[in-house]
């Protein structure tokens, strides 16, 4: 595990509420993400983990509560300011969400072209190749998303998230749908990205192996709110039944 500076808060969520019609998904959620930290949000399927990530990144508006990104409350920002802030955050989607009409190279070039006007086309090419090399996907640069395996798609999704050199990366179920060996590789890759690109991350998962490998800290989301917060080892020693349930296997 990496050492991380625990003094600078880069994401602060305070008393967040979100419901869809009568179903309460998030209730009084508060969390802090520190600079350089990998925070794992652990929870069962349907616990509201992905909704939490989407609220933090401004994809879903919360019903109530404050989300402060890099000292900016996102509810106070206009569309342009929010878009600029979003460029500092990378997002790795559960299904990778690659643009299926574009090759891997074009998937990475697409956000880069729109964000970086001062870099030449050649330099952009170098950036893309470097990032693909870091995620072990350089040989698949010209492949279409439909030609990639599940693990390769996750890697390509991560490469696209990294192309704008974000300070924070959100991982939405990074190991879901992968075999144990590939899951392990992706978890290792998350750590590698944290080390090389000096990113902070929120990783939502229900995969305990991934949580153990990648986390500096774990928060457990159950029944719409957090029930525990601590390191993997401290939570393993927690005697509460609902927390212990996660460590049974």
């Amino acid at each position: 595990m990496m050492d991380h500076t625990r003094n600078e808060i880069i994401i602060k969520v305070e008393h967040l509420y979100k419901s869809f019609k009568s179903e309460i998904v998030l209730s009084d959620i508060s969390l802090e993400l520190f600079h350089g930290e990998n925070l794992v949000v652990l929870g069962k399927s349907g616990a509201g983990k992905s909704v939490l990530l989407k609220c933090i990144t401004g994809l879903i508006p919360p019903d109530k509560g404050d989300i402060i990104l890099f000292d900016h409350n996102i509810s106070d920002l206009n569309e342009d300011a929010l878009n600029n802030l979003k460029k500092r955050i990378g997002y790795v989607f559960q299904g990778a969400a690659l643009y299926d009409s574009m090759s891997v190279r074009e998937n990475l070039l697409f956000p880069l072209e729109r964000a970086e006007n001062e870099i030449s086309h050649k330099e952009k090419g170098f950036i893309i190749e470097e990032i693909l090399e870091n995620v072990g996907l350089k040989d698949s640069i010209n492949k279409m998303p439909s030609e990639l395996s599940g693990g390769m798609r996750k890697r390509a999704g991560l490469a696209r998230a990294l192309v704008l050199r974000p300070e924070i990366i959100m991982y939405d179920e990074p190991t879901t749908g992968l075999d144990p060996a590939t899951s392990h590789e992706i978890s290792e890759l998350i750590l590698q990205v944290q080390r090389i690109f000096r990113t902070s991350s929120i990783i939502v998962t229900h995969d305990m192996h991934c949580a153990r490998l990648t986390s500096n800290r774990i928060m457990i989301l159950e029944n719409s709110c957090f029930i525990a917060d601590g390191t993997y080892e401290s939570l393993r020693k927690n005697k509460t039944k609902s927390v212990q349930d996660y460590f049974l296997n």
């Binding site: 878009n83 979003k86 990378g90 299904g95 690659l98 697409f110 956000p111 964000a115 704008l164």
Partner: protein, 274 residues
């Protein structure tokens, strides 16, 4: 035990109440949907007037919706012109007005049949594509992926498609009118012999400035409506993969309806103005 008349009365009340509730809910849904569509249209118009940087995507869409529609629109227009001429000829012959046949057919094509049929063909080919493509991107989180990268998906995905549809429908209508003229010429020549020059002269003697301008202007509105409605249906889809089919279907149905409503309004306005 209730008497027969009381039972019938109660059933009638329940049925009426049930229908009322269903109708009220449907009406409410319609207005909510309409309001949402109006907000979306406003957003698209605002983005249209911002400095556009997605010209390449606009060209790609224009190629897809315009150039790729040429064969289908052309074949349909040719058959339309031919059949319209063949169907109209007996009536005109009975009235002893066969010489007016080209003029009558051409005016029908320019004023009404060309724009409406072309718009409907365009709807079937393009609106379903827009609806399915955008809804599929929504379901697979590709639109979310754009948003989190700070890319405005409305500008990239919607504005380019709406612009392409708005500009390509008039072009396709002019093209289909031309092909329909040729079809009509063939129709006239099946039973009589007339040169193309004379056919055109007969035809355009009956066409006036006020036949062409309103018919052309309304095609821009057709294109805009088809673009906005089909993109809206795709952009805001839900219900997973089932929503993709629903969005494509709904895009075609709503866009077709919009074409007829716009046509009705434009015809009424034209009657008032001219």
């Amino acid at each position: 035990m209730l008497s027969f008349s009381t039972r019938v009365f109660k059933q009638k009340i329940m049925r009426t109440t049930g229908q009322d509730e269903g109708f009220t809910a449907q009406l409410k849904d319609f207005f909510v949907d309409f309001g949402s569509l109006a907000r979306f249209t406003g957003k698209v118009i605002r983005e249209l007037f911002k400095k556009t940087t997605e010209f390449r995507e606009f060209l790609r869409q224009a190629y897809y919706v315009g150039y790729k529609s040429l064969p289908l629109v052309g074949i349909t227009a040719f058959i339309l012109g031919l059949v319209l001429t063949l169907q109209t000829r007996p009536v005109m012959a009975d009235l002893g007005a066969e010489a007016w046949l080209p003029g009558m057919v051409i005016v029908s094509i320019i004023r009404e049949i060309g724009p409406v049929i072309t718009a409907l063909i365009f709807t079937g080919r393009v609106a379903s594509g827009f609806g399915a493509e955008l809804s599929s991107m929504r379901v697979t989180e590709q639109i979310d992926a754009m948003e989190v990268s700070g890319i405005n998906p409305v500008k990239y995905l919607v504005v380019t498609r709406v612009m392409a549809a708005t500009l390509m429908v008039p072009v396709l209508v002019i093209y289909s009118d031309g092909i329909a003229f040729i079809g009509s010429f063939f129709g006239v020549n099946i039973q009589s012999s007339i040169t193309f020059q004379l056919f055109l002269k007969n035809a355009f003697d009956s066409v006036h400035f006020y036949d062409i301008i309103p018919a052309t202007i309304k095609t821009f509105f057709f294109g805009f409506a088809i673009g906005v409605i089909s993109c809206y249906k795709g952009y805001y889809t839900d219900r997973g993969t089932a929503g993709v089919g629903l969005a494509a279907n709904s895009a075609v149905v709503s866009s077709s309806l919009a074409v007829f409503v716009i046509d009705l309004i434009v015809v009424q306005l034209t009657e008032l103005i001219i």
